[in-house]
């Protein structure tokens, strides 16, 4: 027995030594490629906000316009661009204040050595020019500081009243070029503005630019309003109102300011949302104690019932291709998310976690569904299959997600009693508050403006 052990140990030692001697070496830093060239692999990078310099934008000749002097506009445009990039949580703008002044000829010949000393990796420059026909030209240039090269440029000829939109479009150009994501700064938010004590809360429809500018009220607060949603073509808004103590879905025409009911029904209607082609609206209607999801043409007509299970089916939201609908239902005993084809067929449950799920919204990219996790009230996302559930918001009451048109960010309501609008970057989880003059809830993000 002992001898056998010694032999076995000796064999093990031998084989181990042999194996050690034959262990393949680690890959060398310099290898030979298929074409016989030297090949070097480098892995490096970090997750951080991108430092980008945004100096004030000069003007070729100071001119007074209805929007203000072009010199002042140059400063304001730069500030809007910097704020937009900062708001995205993906950039750390440097300036406009504190940076060297940029002359008009320098707009296309940047002082790269100077900007490299600021720590900026990229640089935004531009100009504001008053044109003889009364329009403004706002030029926007993006540079790579280290490479000393221009990455992209855009110019916008706008009426003076649209100078802020041109600034947002400039920021959109920068954002898209440097992140690969779609644009979203030139957008609007419709939401429910809230003021007054809880028992006599005045709720009005309000609309503003995504950054809080150009704020105005659409309704006067006579009737409580809830769940406003933009039509994809941005011509109308649908929402629910308690007009005459009866909840029903309304349509608001953004051009004329007129309001009309979506359907003429004696039943309670609520939770409306447009189809991607703006031609239909799905909504919930309570008939004989059972609430189902219905679809109706925007122009009116007989509603078509899409669900028929006992219980409450509500909160429908189309996939971006219009082929499927996600909705919430308590048919299984608790509030969960379900997906069905657009004609109501093939209904299947996709959420199975503890607590309830509500207010599902399909991402404009189609890859995720945002929802409110009602156990604790958090905002989360999951794949349309139900896989990969991820909670995005931390402590504090949060509900009612609405996607940015690029599918990268979500706006939602934070605070149960006194609501505020907040924003979360889906990839990083970074959040920030969206300014509103009063309290706010139920935000709905518009598509990118045309």
């Amino acid at each position: 027995m002992r001898i056998s052990w010694i032999i076995a140990a000796a064999c093990s030692l031998t084989l181990g030594a042999a194996a050690l001697a034959q262990t393949p070496p680690e890959p060398a830093p310099g290898q030979e490629g298929e074409d016989g060239q030297l090949v070097v692999d480098v892995t490096g990078g970090r997750r951080a906000a991108l430092p980008i310099a945004v100096p004030h934008m000069p003007t070729p000749a100071a001119s007074d316009t209805p929007a203000g002097n072009t010199q002042a506009l140059g400063r304001q445009v730069a500030e809007i661009v910097a704020n937009d990039l900062r708001n995205s949580e993906l950039f750390t703008p440097i300036g406009p204040g504190g940076l060297n002044a940029v002359s008009f000829p320098q707009v296309t010949a940047p002082d790269f050595p100077y900007f490299s000393t600021t720590g900026a990796q990229n640089l935004v420059q531009g100009f504001v020019q008053a044109n003889p026909n009364g329009t403004l030209t706002i030029g926007c240039y993006l540079y790579d500081v280290a490479a000393g090269s221009e990455l992209t440029r855009q110019g916008y000829v706008v009426a003076p009243r649209d100078w802020r939109r041109a600034a947002h479009r400039c920021a959109d150009t920068i954002y898209s070029r440097l992140t690969g994501e779609g644009a979203y700064f030139d957008t609007r938010i419709v939401y429910v503005s809230e003021t007054g004590p809880a028992r006599r809360r005045i709720k009005r429809l309000a609309i503003m630019d995504y950054d809080g500018a150009n704020h105005r009220f659409l309704t006067n607060g006579q009737w409580t309003v809830l769940t406003p949603r933009f039509a994809p073509n941005q011509q109308t808004i649908t929402f629910m109102t308690y007009q005459d103590e009866r909840p029903r879905v309304m349509l608001y025409d953004l051009d004329s300011g007129r309001t009309r009911p979506l359907v003429q029904q004696p039943h309670m209607t609520f939770a409306p949302r447009y189809s991607p082609d703006s031609r239909h609206i799905i909504f919930s209607m309570a008939v004989n104690g059972n609430t189902d999801v219905y679809r109706v043409p925007v122009g009116g007509g007989a509603p078509q019932r899409l669900t028929n299970a006992p219980g409450i089916d509500t909160g429908g939201s189309y996939s971006p291709d219009g082929a499927r609908i996600v909705f919430e239902s308590d048919r299984g005993g608790s509030q969960q998310l379900y997906v069905m084809d657009a004609d109501g067929s093939n209904q299947r449950r996709i959420s199975f976690g503890g607590g309830g799920y509500a207010t599902p919204v399909w991402s404009p990219r189609g890859d995720l569904i945002a929802f409110t996790k009602t156990g604790g009230f958090r905002i989360g996302v999951m794949a349309p299959s139900g896989a990969g559930e991820r909670i995005l918001t931390g402590g504090g009451y949060a509900e009612g997600p609405s996607w940015a048109p690029n599918g990268r960010a979500i706006m939602f309501t934070r605070g149960a009693s006194s609501g505020q609008l907040w924003y979360v970057d889906v990839a990083s989880g970074a959040t920030r508050r969206v300014p509103t003059p009063l309290g706010g809830s139920d935000p709905a993000w518009s598509p990118l403006r045309e």
């Binding site: 030297l38 997750r47 906000a49």
Partner: protein, 247 residues
């Protein structure tokens, strides 16, 4: 077991042990490449020596560095699309004319302060082989050493690149680099076919290509690479850098 059996068994055991030891020693030795004798410098006699075997140092100066420009020039200065500015000839800014070589000194002035400890190499280009020296060969070890030297110099700039979003780390971007003898870029970096692109990260592909080029040009010119291995087969005059973000 009688005495004869014990003796026989002992002899057999000793024999096996010796055999195993020999095999172990033999394998270990076989795993290591034989040491090459140190290189000798010899003088060839003109009439007899193979003239082509000895590198002839070039009397020409290194080519002027070219401005590293990412992507095709059309991308760098696109035509304003939605509503282009209406530049006035006298005052409106014009796109800067980029001529190769006009920024030849720029890499030096913009170069980051890199305190890289390149053991055994000088800050400038390594000395070139003297006339009459044997032709240099890019061995596996030399390639590994050069690869390490390149990585040491590029890594700080690679680490500064910012991950644009989920899945971007799966994209591998090869860039083809052509260098001058002084380590500066001799031509624009060329971005090759990226690998690892899928539906989730496709939107980041162009940005990752930017980062790959930036990772190199921000730390260019390279220094301290052996001059005698510049333009040999697999030399560092042309090489491919595969860049990726950390996962």
């Amino acid at each position: 077991m009688d005495r004869a059996e014990v003796t026989g068994f002992g002899v057999a055991l000793a024999g096996h042990a010796a055999l195993l030891a020999a095999l172990t020693f033999g394998f270990t030795v076989a795993g290591n490449p034989p040491r090459l004798p140190p290189a000798m410098e010899v003088s060839y006699i003109e009439e007899v020596g193979l003239a082509a075997a000895a590198p002839v140092p070039s009397a020409e100066p290194a080519a002027a560095a070219m401005a590293p420009v990412m992507g095709p020039s059309e991308d760098a200065a696109p035509t304003p699309t939605p509503a282009p500015p209406e530049p006035q000839a006298a005052v409106a800014p014009q796109p800067r004319q980029k001529a190769p070589g006009t920024r030849g000194a720029a890499p030096q002035t913009r170069r980051r302060a890199l305190d890289i400890d390149l053991a055994g190499v000088s800050d400038g280009p390594a000395p070139r082989a003297r006339a009459g020296a044997p032709a240099a060969v890019m061995t596996g070890q030399a390639a590994a050493d050069i690869g390490s030297a390149i990585i040491r110099q590029v890594q700080p700039c690679a680490d500064r690149q910012i991950d644009p979003g989920p899945g971007a780390s799966r994209i591998v971007t090869p860039i083809s680099l052509r260098l001058n003898r002084d380590g500066s870029l001799a031509a624009r970096p060329r971005v090759g076919a990226q690998r690892g692109i899928d539906d989730e990260n496709r939107r980041y592909a162009q940005r990752v290509a930017d980062l790959a080029v930036n990772a190199f040009v921000s730390c260019a010119p390279l220094r301290g690479l052996p001059q005698d291995l510049y333009d040999v087969p697999r030399g560092w005059s042309n090489f491919t850098l595969n860049y990726r973000l950390p996962g």
